[in-house]
Each structure stands twice: as C-alpha cells, then as structure tokens.
C-alpha cells in the first residue's frame, strides 16, 4: 500500500499512518491476511522516525486493525471490533459531528450530506468488492 504524509495537515504523523492503513483496509486496498511493510524499510522510505512507524503500528494493533506475528511482521486482520455496538457508534459520533459542523459552514444541506455519506459507503464497498475479486 502507498502512504502519503503531509506535515502541514496538523494531524500527528503517526495518526496519518494509522488513518491511511484503516482507510486502505476499508477500501480493500489491503486485504485481511496481507502484510504491512516492516518498520525499518517504511521509516526509511518515508524518512520519518522509526518510533513514529512503531507507534502507528502499535496503535493499529490496539485498535485490532492489524496483528503482529512474531518474526513475520504485521498483517491486516479480519474486521472485528472488541466494542459493543452502542460503544462503537459512540466512537463514531464525534467524527460525524465534526463532519456535520463542517457541512454547516460549507452550507451543505442535510439531504446532500446524507446522500454523500451513502455514496461514500457505496464507493468503499465497490472498491472492496473489486479488490476481493481480483
């Protein structure tokens, strides 16, 4: 998978890595069982501190997006959240709130917003299906 770091985004670099892996997993760009690059070559390639990559992988592991196999590296897991459904929805609420606030300032209506959300769901599902069938 490809990573794109942006030091101007204001988001900590390790979180950018976390979000990109999660996004790639959601879109099927990486599939369950597929490996992530090892820490050292990825740090060298992106020219970021080794600790930054290690921190990102640690975070992905604690969120159960990836698993570490001793001596083999890190692999994408089957989607499984340790939280109950209401806890998971609560986790998402904050992020949806941010998008809703942003929509308000950009004068995007509720209908357009909901349509956009539905479209994005379909887009990710479509990419995932294509990735799984290829």
């Amino acid at each position: 998978m490809q990573f794109q770091l942006n030091f101007k985004s204001g988001k900590p670099v390790y979180l950018q890595l976390v979000d990109q892996v999660k996004s790639a997993a959601a879109s099927g760009a990486v599939l369950p069982g597929e490996p992530l690059p090892s820490i050292r070559p990825l740090a060298e390639l992106l020219r970021v501190n080794r600790n930054t990559v290690a921190k990102a992988y640690g975070e992905l592991e604690s969120q159960r997006v990836i698993e570490t196999v001793a001596g083999k590296g890190c692999f994408i897991r089957e989607t499984s959240s340790p939280f109950k459904k209401d806890a998971r929805i609560k986790l998402l609420t904050e992020e949806v709130d941010q998008a809703v606030v942003q929509a308000h300032h950009l004068q995007v209506s509720k209908d357009d917003f909901l349509k956009l959300a539905a479209d994005r769901f379909d887009a990710f599902a479509h990419k995932r299906t294509r990735a799984e069938n290829s």
């Binding site: 101007k8 204001g10 070559p41 060298e44 020219r47």
Partner: protein, 305 residues
C-alpha cells in the same frame, strides 16, 4: 557496561555559559534530551549550536553551568562519556594518507564494539571503494565515511553537527535514511540522535522534539507534533475588505484588501471562530512546518525585542 536508569537524560544541560573574550556564545542554555529521542537543535549561524556541542564533547570547558551526558561530566569522565557516543562534524577530516579500509580499522581500534555487518552493508550502499585514499574522496563520500565510523560502534548517542550542509540532495537523502535505518533500528530505546542543523525540512520527519536557540539562549522547546498542531497558518478571503477585525494574539503575515494571511500560535480555534463569524468567502488553515516555525519564532522574537 554500566546500565543507565531510564530516567537519566542522555543530555542534560543546565544554565550553560561559554564566553569567548567578551562575547557570550552560549548564554544560560538549559535543555535535556531523554533516551531514544531524535532531538533537533535549531539556530541560525552563530546562535551557539557548535559551541554547545563542543562543551558536550569536552572540546571546550563551560565558563559556568553544567553539561552532563548519561549523567556524567564529560570533563571528568571523558573516556566513559566518549565511549558511548559518536559525532559527525560539519567539516569531516581524515588522515589523507590512509585508505578507506585503514581509516575504518583505525576508528574501530578505539571502540569496544564495531558492527562489521553494518560496515559492509553501508560500504556497499554508498559504493565506497575501500582501497581509495581518503584524500581522493569527494565531500559527499567523506561525509558517508564519517557516518559509517559513527554508526558501526552502535553508540547510545549520535551527535550530528550540520551533517548535511554542502551535500547534494541524493547524498543528503541517503544520509538521513541511514540514520533512520542502520542506526535507529538496532535498539530503539538506546538510540538517541542529537542533530544541529538549519536544513530543518530535511529532518522534519525524523525530529520528535526540538529546541530553537538564538544568541546562546533557548527560545522555544516543543515536541514536533505539538508544535505543528500549535502553529497554524490561516488564510481568509472576504467579499469586501473587512473592518474592525479583531486580530489580537496573532501574527499577521500579509493583509491586502479582501485577503488576510496570519499565523496563530496555540489559539487557532478561537481565531478561526472569529473569522468564521465574518462569513469569509474562503477560509483555510494548515500547520506550519518545523522550518516555518523556526522562521516565525525568530522573526516574532526580533519584533518584540
């Protein structure tokens, strides 16, 4: 080897003063670097960076204040300190009559540890010919050789003083990748980097904490992520020129007619809210890079002084 308790900072500088005649090159500097960090030491030419590093390496005695490495005094425990660190200066010099091979053997002879696998891998990577005389090496090749001599002993602390200035972009890139790969990979908790540079953008991804110094004094110390979150460049454009805009607590970079560009320092949320209340046509914000933070900090300091 003596194990160091994890809470002892690798570098601990307290109220360091170093005077040359009547000039204070370093004037009350305090900073500490915990183990495992990659610490940036930023300042303009003449800000006191190299003098500070020379005090750490016992090449200069402090006029007053203390510099401690691994909890030890580099003046009193010079061998104990120097056996645990290596140093790449900005001007690299080797004995000109020695070959690359002889130079490496010479450096290795002073060291308790020398990783021959790393040496071989780096010689290959840099395509250095071991039978070449060091006097025939280019500036880039001399820096690469210095980096090999600094990494093979697997020191707990790697001190870099303007290591990439005057090098071409490819050599610079390889240099930084080598610090990340060959050096940091060994035992991350015991691999500390202290790098003085003004080519800050090159080291952006590597630095996790930094100190900016000016006139021998600390001006700003922050974690890199926190710094990028705190300093935001905000651009706003309005339908017509805004009047009575409250710009308290921001640094205005540019204001012309309907357009406004400013830097918020830790108050970007409040500043953005104030601007949003004026219904701008466009409003964007992005983090400053470490290099931009460096420039902003020194310019702001100059303006208030």
């Amino acid at each position: 080897m003596m194990a160091m308790p994890p809470d002892v900072p690798v570098i601990d500088i307290q109220q360091l003063v170093r005077r040359y005649g009547r000039t204070d090159a370093v004037n009350g500097l305090t900073l500490r670097v915990p183990a495992g960090r990659c610490y940036g030491f930023f300042g303009r030419n003449g800000a006191g960076k190299t003098t500070t590093i020379k005090c750490l390496l016992n090449l200069l005695r402090p006029t007053s204040g203390t510099a401690r490495l691994f909890g030890l005094d580099p003046g009193r425990d010079e061998v104990a300190v120097k056996s645990r660190l290596t140093y790449v200066p900005d001007q690299v010099a080797f004995y000109p009559w020695m070959t690359v091979r002889e130079t490496l053997d010479y450096f290795a002879s002073f060291r308790a540890r020398w990783n021959a696998d790393t040496e071989r891998a780096l010689l290959d990577q840099f395509r250095l010919e071991t039978r070449q005389k060091t006097s025939h090496l280019s500036k880039g090749q001399r820096t690469q050789l210095a980096l090999i001599t600094a990494i093979c002993p697997e020191p707990e602390l790697l001190v870099l003083d303007e290591p990439t200035s005057g090098l071409d972009p490819i050599v610079r890139r390889e240099f930084i990748q080598t610090v990340i790969g060959a050096y940091q990979d060994g035992d991350p908790g015991r691999r500390t980097v202290f790098v003085s540079t003004h080519l800050i953008s090159e080291f952006e991804g590597l630095i996790d904490e930094f100190t900016i110094i000016e006139e021998g004094r600390e001006v700003l110390t922050l974690a890199a992520d926190a710094a990028r979150e705190r300093y935001q460049k905000i651009y706003a454009r309005f339908a017509s020129e805004p009047t009575e805009l409250d710009l308290a607590g921001v640094q205005v970079l540019h204001r012309a007619g309907r357009e406004l560009e400013l830097v918020a320092n830790g108050n970007s949320g409040a500043v953005l809210d104030r601007l949003k209340a004026r219904s701008p046509e466009a409003l964007t914000s992005e983090s400053l890079t470490l290099e931009e933070i460096f420039v902003t900090t020194l310019q702001a300091g100059g303006a208030t002084a």
